[in-house]
Symmetry: C2
Subunit: 596 residues, 2 copies
Amino acid sequence: MPTYRAPVKDMMYLLHDVLNITKYSNLRGFEEATPELTEAILREAGKLAEEVLQPLNRIGDIEGCTRNDDGSVTTPTGFKEAYKIFVEGGWQGLSHNPEYGGQGLPSVMYIAFEEMCVSANLAFHMYPSLTSGAIVMLNLAGSDEQKAAYIPKMITGEWAGTMNLTEAHCGTDLGQLRTKAEPQDDGSYKITGTKIFISSGEHDLSENIIHFVLARLPDAPQGIKGLSLFLVPKYLINADGSIGARNAVSCGALEEKMGIHGNATAVLNYDGATGWLVGKANEGIKPMFLMMNSARIGVGVQGLGLSEVAYQNAANYARERRQGRAITGAKDPDHAADLIIVHPDVRRMLLEVRAFNEGARAFAFWAALQGDLWLRSEDEETSRQAAEMVGLLTPVIKGVLTDKGFENANTALQVLGGHGYIAESGMEQFVRDARIAQIYEGTNGIQALDLVGRKLPRNNGAAIRAFFEQLGGFCKDHRSAEAAPYINPLKAAIKDLETATLWLMENGMKNPDNAAAGATNYMHLLGLVAIGYMWAQMALKSLELLAAGAEDKTFHEHKLGTANYYMSHMLPETASHLKRIEAGAETMMAMPAEAF
Amino acid sequence: MPTYRAPVKDMMYLLHDVLNITKYSNLRGFEEATPELTEAILREAGKLAEEVLQPLNRIGDIEGCTRNDDGSVTTPTGFKEAYKIFVEGGWQGLSHNPEYGGQGLPSVMYIAFEEMCVSANLAFHMYPSLTSGAIVMLNLAGSDEQKAAYIPKMITGEWAGTMNLTEAHCGTDLGQLRTKAEPQDDGSYKITGTKIFISSGEHDLSENIIHFVLARLPDAPQGIKGLSLFLVPKYLINADGSIGARNAVSCGALEEKMGIHGNATAVLNYDGATGWLVGKANEGIKPMFLMMNSARIGVGVQGLGLSEVAYQNAANYARERRQGRAITGAKDPDHAADLIIVHPDVRRMLLEVRAFNEGARAFAFWAALQGDLWLRSEDEETSRQAAEMVGLLTPVIKGVLTDKGFENANTALQVLGGHGYIAESGMEQFVRDARIAQIYEGTNGIQALDLVGRKLPRNNGAAIRAFFEQLGGFCKDHRSAEAAPYINPLKAAIKDLETATLWLMENGMKNPDNAAAGATNYMHLLGLVAIGYMWAQMALKSLELLAAGAEDKTFHEHKLGTANYYMSHMLPETASHLKRIEAGAETMMAMPAEAF
């Protein structure tokens, strides 16, 4: 049976040693983010993840959700009780608006919490995380009345939330959506249509579910500029705030999926359901995109979270399983065989995953902190710069952390050999669960196009130029011999990224297919550099702390050991991505469609 | 619902245009391998795969196998009927010894057949393919009496076969096996122990199952040199050849696995079961290794087969699904959106898979042909050289084709977006089924070690030197300007492989960990070069046939288009593997075991 230990120590190191978040104590919510308080929160969160959520992960996979004949949905055994503990602990409101009952903590804290929940139980985590997205969106786009009426109940978890975008004939291409909204005399709308792939779409955890639905008004223009956003509760709300009549939205079916069985992926039928417009008519796409952008960092962290728990279980196995002898001679001659951790190829697999995880965690925390600076800094220039950076990094975090997260879960499975293929080990569930994160919230191909087609050229490349400036400054600031093993490989990688950026700009102008053809490789190249930047920062910080006589010497020595692996084995992969980008679109576009 | 079309045309092109197998008509079994006969066989095989096996693939996944209270196992609905059609069609004997009822066709034909079966239904295919392995082994190591008593019934499919190696405490490290064999007065042995992960271990398809079991005699030396091979039938055979009493071997449980649900992965309990020694005492490992080596090419083809069927379904989807607009402007303005095949990133995904599949198919066929030359050529030198080549290439085919096969099945799934994650599409089953091939028949890490630790240094590197000579000769023979786009990238890749080989020899001598640390990357580097060699041959052959006014012009044009993609986007990946090899073992081995 798989186990999980929340990486509180590594998170504390990132928050306080590397990112030094206490220096932002002048920002809203940060005043409470002292080392003492953050550690207390992370420890409590870790207990929730380890003791409440993780033990339900396998049973959620085995049982899945059940749609009953009346259209209601029963979640797996134990999910209801866990949800009660979750919301009563106040976790649903962790980073939300204190005005409505939230705790207003920085999103860098929320991201840490989210990683733990994902590692413990992704399918469960998706219920509160969809609610969280709904809160963010309503906070962005709702009227004051709507906010006051809905957000407090969502923060207490009494009501949950969902996002309704996809229809059967179109996923990414929202301009093709057909669901209709007809205005009624009382100011409400009748919503009619069918939405598919609705995560957490129907369940028995909360007394109500607030659906946010993209639909089209009768006179709406075609395409995405004709989409409006509607709030459609499962149960209508009476004037006194109590639960009223059942609304005309129902779960038509649940999907049979590869993984995340514990989450109900619903087909939702809207049969003239009553809804209310959120924000302006025909401007529904904007808050939806804003919400999705913030959700994408969370989805990236799903890749990381599964990679982390898969690593832990593979490492546990490798430290206990005996097979064969070390190639340099028996290490434990008293035993019939050595531990498999003595084999270089086993270490290669573990280090690939671990060096990614620790670097990606730093990357996600850093990006989340930029998000906090954007939304919470009162200095306009700081806020503007942070917004640019978040925009640039979000598709990279979503795409790279989920692609690598899936790959890593598989690598970790491989460490267990045949035992990893058996359901009981839990490893294959991590793989199946991780697979969805590469798809939802915009496929990773879409992330790459967003990066190359939108985020790179915006404001004449301001964001990527700022990124290069920051990296260049960092390298200049660290010219000691001690820093060289980290700065030199980073410099080489930055050069590859610069070359690729110039190539895309030049050749993408000649033919946009060249930019699109290289997009996925560019996203991974940028990810390698960003994580390399994080590793260089961590290595220098650990060197500094060791020199200062840090208490936990081994922690910092292992940090350096892992940094060394990243620098020698993983970061040089930038060259390969550059080559693929420079190979261009020609051979991809040459064959006619019917040749495939 | 997924579909499958057997790639008969591509296989005919490989057999007759590229490999020109008719030139071996002097070899046993090849006399019948005329274009007419091979096409007839491949068409019949394709029909079997498409019409009998493929329709059962999903149901096999959904139902799985059931162990009944009496220890018997029921296979999924339809498997029994399909098995009847399979064996009555004579497919079980395709490449086996005609002396015992087989058709003795070349294994290059068997490999083609095997690819189709895997694409259609891997879980089903594993039943006859385990029998096939058992036939090969008995043919290698059994006495004439044993062969005559068992092989004919196995070729008709009346009796099936299995391989029993793994025990719970050891997978790869067979030296730790504990199952015991006690000699009896009548010349038989009593076998006692528990074997796990036994594919096709118990089922209702055949009237008997012949288990081949590694066990230890009372006085056997420790380690793998104390293992003997035993033949243990599920039902004992009477003197007249009829089925006798039930033997003391029983299925204790079936494993719950990630995929291949239609195949029964059994725990087999041997409780003093009656068995017979095959070959000499304490020399059981040798025939087992010989059989496994031949089975490993088959397992490689499992990766290819799943990659192929996944490709076909992804390509079908991409040619029908409409989402968004081409980045260079609408291609189908009359429709609400363009086909997704217009998007470069979709083509990138499809071409990665397709260029691999066609190249890997050529690689597997070529290796199988070397196997035929080894075992069937009467010229000693030809046979010896072919044996060296098969030895070198086998771990590469197993490791690379299954690693890439799994990766490709995932890439193909991604083309379908959310729909690929839904079970009904069949894509996620391909992924789950493909995952096992990286593990069984020796994990891919073991393949890489076999390559670097055994196959490379053997006979002072004779095999790799012969490989380089052949490649060098090929490049020298093709110096035309027309050939340059294929020869030049191939030369660069060969150079990377040469550099890596030298590095491993030099640095592996200093410290064996350096060789082991780079093994997996070396295996993939060699795979890229070997497949690049195949692509260069195919491209030159198609150019030649086009110049000669070949009938099927588009086939050859698409072959060249795919070759161009491989050369520009995939083959240059050799540089990245070289870099990783050169990074060495140091950073991998530095951290203590407890750091993980």
